[in-house]
Symmetry: C2
Subunit: 494 residues, 2 copies
Amino acid sequence: MQFPKGLITIDKNSHVAVYLQIANGIISHIRRGILKPSAALPASRILAADLKVHRKTVVAAYDELYAQSWVDAYPRKGIFVAKNLPDVSPRKITTGIQSYSYPEETFFEIANDKFPSLALSVKSPEHNLVFNDGFPDTRLAPVELMVREYRRFARYHFTSKYLMYGPEQGSENLRTELARFFGETRGLQVKPENILITKGVQMALYLIAQLLLTKNDTVIVADPGYNGANEVFEQAGANLALVPIDEHGININHIEAICKKKKVKLVYVIPHHHSPTTVTLSAERRMQLLELARKYKFAIVEDDYDYDFHYASSPILPLASIDYYGSVIYVGSFSKTIAPGIRMGFMIAPKNLIARATRFRKLIDRQGEQLLEEAMANLLKNGDISRHLKKANKIYHERRDILCRLLQEKLNGSVNFKIPDGGFAVWVEYLNGLKPQEVSAKAATMGLTISNGKDYYHDPAYLNNCIRIGFASLNPNELEAAVDILAKAVISLS
Amino acid sequence: MQFPKGLITIDKNSHVAVYLQIANGIISHIRRGILKPSAALPASRILAADLKVHRKTVVAAYDELYAQSWVDAYPRKGIFVAKNLPDVSPRKITTGIQSYSYPEETFFEIANDKFPSLALSVKSPEHNLVFNDGFPDTRLAPVELMVREYRRFARYHFTSKYLMYGPEQGSENLRTELARFFGETRGLQVKPENILITKGVQMALYLIAQLLLTKNDTVIVADPGYNGANEVFEQAGANLALVPIDEHGININHIEAICKKKKVKLVYVIPHHHSPTTVTLSAERRMQLLELARKYKFAIVEDDYDYDFHYASSPILPLASIDYYGSVIYVGSFSKTIAPGIRMGFMIAPKNLIARATRFRKLIDRQGEQLLEEAMANLLKNGDISRHLKKANKIYHERRDILCRLLQEKLNGSVNFKIPDGGFAVWVEYLNGLKPQEVSAKAATMGLTISNGKDYYHDPAYLNNCIRIGFASLNPNELEAAVDILAKAVISLS
C-alpha cells in the first residue's frame, strides 16, 4: 500500500465538500508523481479510518475520481490510479493540496519588454487634503440618477435584451442621443454611425494609435502634454515630435516646420483647457491647423475631454464641427461628467474609420456595458445630463474663482498663473527659485498632497517649475485649508 | 457690406440659444472663407431686422464672437472679422450651419489594412425562436441582485471612493473574494496579486496575445475552435498551427509532433465543454499537456469560460491548479454567470505577467467599472453568486436533458450527438447527407434561427456537417417548439 499517511488533510470549515477535498488531494498527489499510474488506492474503509470520516465519504471521493478518469476500478480488486496516465517524476512532498503554492514567475518567456515603463496609479494619498491633477468632485456625482435608471431596468421586461451581446459600436439609443447632444452643444452635425462608444478617452486613443500608426511614424504632440496619449502613441511604434505650447495653444508654425521636413502622420491636440497648461487653442490657430491638415494630409486627433466644463463665455466649437475634408478624429469622455470611475468615452470620425475601429474594439473587449449605455441615453434624453452639467459648472466656476483668489491673497509674489477658462485645474508657476519638488515634500509633512512637478514634460531635460493645482474636488473650506498649508510650506522655504 | 442675406438660419425650436446659433453661423462662414479676414459685419440693428430677432440677441452673438476672438471690435467703426485669421478660399455656399454635412471618408490614410475581416455581430434574428451558439438565459440573470447593490451604493458615503480612479488591476475586494472562490471551486491556491480583472475573456486573450507574441510566432489551437481567440492571436502576428480534437479533447501527440519541428510559443485550450465541440479534456491529456509545456517551454492559455456550469459529477480541476512551473495562464468570465452583456472576466497568472498585463490594460482602458466590481465582490462574499449558480445549474441541466431527449425522439436517425457534461450547447452532427446550410435556410422560412454550420473550422477546406444547438436560453416549451420546427425542416429535406 503506497499511500503515505497524513497526505490528505481535511478542513472541516472549508466551503468545499469533504469528499471533494479528499478527491482533490488524491488528484494532487497523482499529478505530482507521488501516486504513480496503476498504484493501488487504500480500501475505502481503511482510508476512512485514517481520515476520521464516514466510509461513504471516501466512496463518494472515489466515485468522483472515477467519473473524472483519474482512477480505474476493478470489481473485487479495488481502486487503482489510472494506468494510462503519464509517469511524472515526483515533486516535493508536501501535506495536502492546501500547501501547494502558486508559482512566483512564469516558466515561459514574455516575448518583448513591452510596457515595462508605464506608471501605475499612485496609492491613495495618506493626507486628507489633496490638490489633485484636476478631477471632478465625486461627492457631486449624480449616483442617484444612475441608480434610478438601474432600478428602472430591474422592473422592465425589455431589460433582458440589454443583457445579451449587443452592438460593438455601442448602444443605438445612446449614439442617437449623443448625435443630438453634440449638435446642440458643439455644432457637430454627425450621425449615430459616426460615433463609437469607448471606455473613456483612453480606449479611443489606443484604437486610433493602433489603427493609424506603424513603426517610426511621426506623431506631433505638445510638450508639456498628456502622458496617457504619449504612451499610447509610443507603444504603437511612433516617434514623438515635441512642439512648444504658449498662451494661444500649440505652436502652429513649429508644426508646419516639421511637416516640411518629414511626413507627419498624426497631430494630437487638446484644444480646450489643454492638459497640463489649461490654455485654449485660439480660433486663428484652429483654422491654420485645419489648413495644414489638408495640405500635409495628416490626421488631427482632437481630444476635447472637458469641453462641457467651461466658465468663460462659450467654448470654441470643435475643429471637428467644421472639418470639410475628414481630417479630424474627435474624442471625448463622460468620465468627468459622471465620475472618473464611470468609464465612458466616444470617438467621432468618418464612417470608414469608425467601421475599422469598431471591429478592432470587438477584438479587445467585444462591447461596452449596455445597461450603463442605456442609462446614459436616458439621462441625455430627459435632460438630466444637461441639468447636472449646469449645476456642476456653477460649482466648479465658484471653486476656480475661490482658488485663484486665495492664491493671489496668500501666495502673492511666490506664484504666477492665468485664470483658466474652464476645466478642473490651474497651471501655477513657482517664482523666486521655489522648486515644485521641495514645496511638495514640505507640504506633505504638513498634511497636504500636491504635485511635485514631475511628468508634465516629455523632454526630461526641461527644468519645470510649474504644477497643476486641481480645484474641482475640494469645497471652499477645503480649498482655504489647503492653500493655508501651501502658503506655510512656501514661506518656510523662502 | 459683404454679408449676403439668408446666410444665417435660425431654428427657434432648437435647444441652442438663438444668440449662439447666430454666432455659430457667422463662425461657419468665416471658416469656410465666405466671410474674409477684416470683412465688416453688419450693424447689430440691421442684422437683427434681417433675422427678425431682438437687437440685444445680435449684440450677445457679437460679444460671443469677440470673446472667442473671431472678430475685432473698433469703437465707432463697428465689428470686423479678425484680421489675423488665415484667408481660406471659399467653399460651397450653403445656407446656415445646419446644412453642413459631415465628411463620408477620412482624408488621411489608415495605415494598414488592419482588422478588415473581423465579423461584426449579426443583427437580432427576426424570428422568435432562436437556437443560439450557447448563451445563458438573460431572463434568469440576477438583475435584482445587481440593482440591490447599486441601491446600496447610492446610500453610502464610501461610494464616492469607488467613483474616483481606482486600481488598474481591479478592485482589491473583488480579487480577494475571487481568490477565495477559486480556492473553493477550482482548487486554485492563488493570491489577489495573481488576478487581473478584465472585460470578459476577450480582453484577457487580447492582453496575453499582445504581451507574449511577436510576428510569426507559432500558436497551437484546436480546429474546430473558438474564432474569438484565433482572431486575437492572428492579429498579434502569430501563425496558427491547427490540431484536431476528439472526444478526449485536443490531440496531445499532434501537439508534441509540432513542438519537435518548431518553437511553439503558446497552446490555447478550452478544457471544459470546448467550443464548439463541447468535449472535456481528459485528466490524462491534462497531465501530458503540462509535461509538454515544461519540456518545450510554451505557455498554456487555459480558457475555462464555463467551468461553473457543469452537470455531470464535478468538473476536472483546472490545469492552473497544479501548475508547479508557471506554465499556465488561466482565463475565465462572469459574463455567463450574470449575463453576456455584463462584461467581467479575469486572468490568473504568476505575478510577473500580471504586472505587465496590468500596465498594458491601463494603456487600453485605464481600469474596469469599480462599482460593478464592488457589487460583484459583495455578491461573491455573501454567497449570492453561489446560490445563483446552483439555481441556474439546475435549470440548465434540465434544459440540456430536455433538448437531448427531444432530439432523440424527433430527429432520430437524422442527427448524432453526445450529451455534453456542462455548458450551454450540444454539438450535433447531421446524418444522411443533410447540410447545415440547407437546414438553416429551411428552418428560417418556418420561424426558427439555427446555425448554418459556418465559422466553426479555421480550415476553410473542411466540409463541416456539425452545428452547435444552444439549449440554455430557451425554456421547455420553447425547446419543444424549436425542435418541432427543426424536425419538420429536416423531414422536408430528406
